[in-house]
Structures are given as structure tokens and as C-alpha cells.
Symmetry: C2
Subunit: 94 residues, 2 copies
């Protein structure tokens, strides 16, 4: 009846990050922080988890002398997101 909700994705901030990356396909730390309205600390932790799960790639570089962390959703991430959404539908009967 109710399928498991992938616990990596069933987290407000991680879900928001994935949601942004699904549309933007690439976003830096500052953009994610702003769009998700999160604190830097929380965001830092959560994108690490998404990376460990293989759902996003993190690329670190410099831009205008400042460090810049770029996140990009992976194919696996896309699939996981879609599966999450489809599982969710049973709960909220959208």
C-alpha cells in the first residue's frame, strides 16, 4: 500500500535542494542557500549527504577569487527523485 519514502529525500532541505537542481540542473552554494532559505551549516551537511548517496555531484572551484561550490543532479538522483514522488502519491493521493 504505502511504499517506503526514501529517507535521503524525505527531508525538507534535501528535497528542496533536489527540487531546485532538477530544474536548474546546476546551482552554486549561494543560490541553493537563497532558494531554499536555509542556513549555510545545514545546507553544507545536507548536500554532503546527497553527494554520498550519489544523487548530486559537487564541484569546487574559484570564482572571482572566492571559493565556489557547484552542485549538479546526477542521473541516479533524477531517478531517485522520480521514485520518491511516485511513492509519495500514495500518501497524498495527488
Amino acid at each position: 500500500m504505502f511504499k517506503e519514502l526514501n529517507p535521503i529525500l524525505h527531508s525538507q532541505l534535501r528535497l528542496a535542494v533536489m527540487s531546485v537542481l532538477k530544474n536548474e540542473q546546476e546551482a552554486d552554494f549561494s543560490l541553493l542557500k537563497q532558494k531554499t532559505n536555509s542556513t549555510a551549516g545545514n545546507l553544507s551537511v545536507q548536500i554532503q549527504k546527497l553527494k554520498e548517496a550519489g544523487y548530486i555531484e559537487i564541484k569546487k572551484q574559484f570564482k572571482d577569487n572566492y571559493p565556489q561550490t557547484i552542485c549538479k543532479i546526477t542521473r541516479n538522483g533524477m531517478t531517485a527523485f522520480e521514485n520518491y514522488v511516485s511513492a509519495l502519491k500514495a500518501y497524498v493521493n495527488v
Copy 2:
């Protein structure tokens, strides 16, 4: 952009319980346990939280000599559920 996801509802089991109660409008402990495929301990804790939040009512009675715990969604619970779903849509762009 992303609204808060009500933390009372943003829980797999509590969401499943609410989902069942939204359709069944009344269900006993055993039915909820079976439909949500949860352990009794977890279910017991989570329906207490839903009750404390005012999202369900819990009525205890006996049926065929056995204790029976009946749960019913409240008007507040309905509203909270609907708000949760509508907030969720921004995340999963359903």
C-alpha cells in the same frame, strides 16, 4: 519559494496514518497497523503525537473483550493535511 513542511505531518508513518484516516474517517489500531505496515510501538507513539497536535481523536473502548483504540481525523487534521500537500507541491512540482 519553498514553504515549511509541517513537521508533524512530514513523517512517513504519521503521514500514512493521516492518509488512511482521510479516506476511512475512522480506523482502529489494528487496521492502521496493517495498512501502514508499521510496528505497534511506532504506531502507538505516532498516533499520540497526532492526537497532541489535534489532528486526530483517539477513543478507547472494548470490542469482543479486547481493548480497541479507534482513531478519527479532526477538522484541524484535514486542514493541516491539505496545507501540507499544497506546500509539498512546490517541492515535487506535481
